[in-house]
């Protein structure tokens, strides 16, 4: 890791940011068709070493596309990327094929929702991890097996020696997820990208995997970008949260602050659906009318304006700029002051009902 940093061409970016996205755009073009889908429309994100950032959003918000762009996993033929991705001081979009393969797995590794599609069914899990270990660091087979065993112990797989010789289908869901994390760690990455890694798991297993990720993160000093639609899972792991809507980050800040006092109307709607007391039997659920905009069309102004209860005509005029609320807390909304005034007006009423409910 130290060598990589030395080799790298130093850039003007802030030294604290290990990973930095500047105005990232990802467009998908279907070959032979004029239709262009603007899946990611200007994402700025910085992740410090050892920090966990959760990217939250609903399907189609561009969170997974952003994550995959970090490793340039999108097919070059159908993808156009603009902006800048910097990882460990290197400009990812400028990397050659060879440099890119060294980065994938070596500096940056990824875990997915479905481990069965990550592992090859005809090799044992151990063989695949050993192969990856040796791909990134020259060493003997025996040494690599020892390393694989250590990795299995690290992700707390019971009787690891025996499990190395298991085929993927012989493992239970939670165990496969652990094995996939071990595989991701094989190249000693410093950045772990997690794409909905606990979504398909049962509740009792999900919490185990979330705790494991937290533990690995602090033991290995990993930076983690955790993509999820599940705010609960994000709450368990994230230091910071970024909420995405229609290809943009609409709100970003420290997890505790964002959850306690969301500022963007979309974040408010998203969080309100699960707020304590919102799901009371017999009470109708708050819903968000309409649907996200079609990203193959140009979105004028704020993408959320059509569904927003606070929208004014100005919202559909120009795209709202990112506003910095406090250091490290940004919101993409022009109605912040007006809404803050409204909230203050409502607060006394709300606190009255809250005491009645809890008392």
């Amino acid at each position: 890791m130290a060598e990589t940093v030395q080799e790298a061409v130093p850039l003007a970016s802030a030294p604290a940011a290990w990973v930095k996205l500047d105005d990232l755009h990802v467009d998908f073009v279907a070959p032979g068709q004029a239709k262009v889908v603007h899946a990611v429309r200007g994402v700025d994100l910085a992740v410090a070493p050892g920090e966990t950032v959760a990217l939250i959003g609903e399907s189609g918000s561009g969170k997974s596309v952003t994550l995959r762009a970090l490793m340039r996993l999108h097919a070059p033929r159908t993808t156009r990327m603009r902006g800048r991705i910097t990882i460990a001081g290197r400009d990812v979009l400028a990397l050659s094929g060879r440099e890119l393969s060294a980065m994938r797995g070596g500096t940056v590794a990824m875990i997915f929702q479905e481990p069965l599609s990550v592992f090859d069914p005809v090799y044992t899990v151990g063989q695949q991890i050993i192969e990856t270990v040796r791909r990134h660091k020259p060493m003997s087979y025996a040494q690599a097996r020892q390393r694989a065993l250590t990795l299995f112990e690290q992700v707390r797989i019971p009787s690891p020696e025996r499990r190395l010789d298991a085929y993927p289908h012989e493992m239970s869901g939670g165990m496969r997820q652990r094995a996939m994390i071990a595989l991701a760690l094989a190249g000693e990455p410093t950045l772990l990208l997690a794409d909905e890694p606990t979504t398909a798991l049962d509740a009792t297993v999900q919490i185990q995997i979330l705790l494991l990720l937290r533990e690995l993160q602090s033991a290995l000093g990993l930076s983690i970008i955790f993509v999820t639609h599940d705010i609960g899972a994000a709450t368990e792991v994230a230091d910071r949260m970024a909420v995405m809507y229609a290809g943009q980050i609409v709100e970003q800040g420290p997890a505790a602050q964002l959850l306690a006092q969301p500022r963007h109307p979309y974040t408010q709607a998203l969080l309100n659906s699960r707020r304590h007391g919102a799901m009371t039997k017999g009470r109708r659920l708050d819903t968000l009318a309409g649907s996200p905009p079609d990203l193959s069309q140009t979105v004028a102004g704020c993408a959320f304006a059509q569904r927003c209860v606070h929208a004014i005509p100005a919202c559909t005029g120009a795209p709202p700029p990112m506003q910095t609320l406090t250091a490290g807390y940004t919101v993409r909304c022009i109605r912040l002051e007006a809404m803050a005034a409204e909230i203050d007006a409502h607060r006394c009423i709300d606190s009255d009902t809250a005491t009645v409910a809890t008392g």
Binding site: G173, I207, L211, R214, T235, L270, R274, L288
Partner: protein, 365 residues
């Protein structure tokens, strides 16, 4: 299509389905329901003898009229197999279903009649619909099979589309791929209602939807329940949603029913150690008070070879020696609650210690 000649019968609707036993009689009574799946290549695995997956292993419960009964449990616990058994999509090995006092499959309630009264909505909204039929045709298909004239069936389909919030003029002629996931699930609900069923089985019906769409569909389901006097069996892994929508909740573990009771009691005071652990496994909502340790270790055991005695004893913090030897029975525990745990059963040899806390003893298999 074959019905077009038979349209001389003037009935505009299918004959209505009367409430037979009155409000106190359960709508569906399930007794000793079991289904084991034989593993084809069991001999290859050296299991010796025939290995079976005990997907559902002798469960008893009632679904009351006009209630929503939630079903929770982890994957492999038999939730979906139970749903398919109730729907008679797969045949039970053992057990009896009594629908409003009539045994299903008997002369008084043949399967075809029963299936009109029980309909199902699945998780995968796209796979549930025929991609080559317009949604209007998909909804009208069932009523036509049951003898409704084509024109009346189409009218019914359009009425139902409007009822589930899809404007017929805009949506009726569309194909499934032209709709969003939430819209498709509305179509599936409309189709399920087309035969005027009394019981709707919702198997993870909202699980694949985004939160904002999920809320809309949950509201719709509650409106429809009131309007059409429906009874729901609501299967989901999302405990918050189950708590919200259910009147009573049933918890399954490895093919067995381990606890049933009112939603409020079950979520506020879970009795079974597994229910307790399941509820504690929900992620924290407060980043300043995150979960520090996982309530359960490991995955659920394989239902091919379930543990002896209480099936949960291998993961249970309160297990004692007797738990591996003796299978608990489902016993009453006040207020309509039933629980299958030796700690709640008298004279089983389970020693309750005052604190009700962990007292681990070596387990001899």
């Amino acid at each position: 299509m074959a019905d077009t000649e038979a349209t001389t019968t003037p009935h505009p609707l299918l004959p209505s389905l009367p409430d037979l036993g009155g409000p106190r009689q359960p709508l569906l009574t399930v007794r000793g329901l079991s289904r084991h799946f034989a593993l084809k290549s069991a001999a290859w695995f050296g299991a010796g003898g025939r290995a079976v997956v005990r997907a559902v292993d002798g469960i008893d419960f009632d679904i009351l009229k006009r209630e929503t009964l939630g079903v929770v449990g982890e994957s492999g616990c038999g939730k979906s197999t139970t749903a398919r058994l109730l729907m008679q999509l797969i045949e039970p090995d053992q057990g009896e279903l009594v629908f409003d006092g009539q045994t299903v499959g008997s002369r008084s309630l043949p399967l075809r009649e029963y299936r009109r009264q029980v309909q199902m909505v699945f998780q995968d909204s796209y796979a549930s619909l025929n991609p080559r039929m317009t949604i209007e045709d998909s909804i009208a298909f069932g009523p036509r099979v049951h003898g409704l004239p084509a024109r009346a069936a189409t009218t019914r389909a359009r009425d139902l589309l409007a009822r589930v919030g899809l404007e017929p003029a805009r949506f009726a002629g569309r194909y499934p791929h032209e709709l969003s996931g939430g819209q498709r699930q509305r179509v599936n609900i409309a189709r399920a209602l087309a035969l005027e069923p009394r019981l709707l089985i919702l198997d993870e019906a909202v699980s694949a939807l985004d939160k904002s769409v999920e809320a809309q569909v949950l509201n719709l389901l509650q409106d429809l329940q009131r309007e059409f006097d429906l009874t729901y069996l609501f299967i989901s892994h999302d405990l918050d949603v189950v708590r919200y929508i259910s009147d009573r909740v049933l918890v399954m573990y490895l093919g067995q029913l381990i606890e049933i009771g009112s939603a409020q009691r079950l979520f506020d005071q879970p009795l079974h150690p597994y229910t307790q652990a399941l509820l504690q496994s929900r992620p924290s909502t407060d980043p300043n008070h995150r979960t520090e340790s996982a309530p359960l270790a490991g995955d659920p055991p394989n239902p091919v070879n379930p543990p002896s005695g209480c099936r949960f004893h291998t993961r249970c913090a309160q297990a004692q020696a007797v738990c591996s030897a003796r299978m608990p029975t489902l016993v009453e525990h006040g207020n309509g609650s039933r629980v299958a745990c030796l700690a709640y059963e008298p004279d089983t040899g389970y020693r309750a210690n005052g604190s009700g806390l962990i007292m681990k003893e070596p387990i001899h298999g």
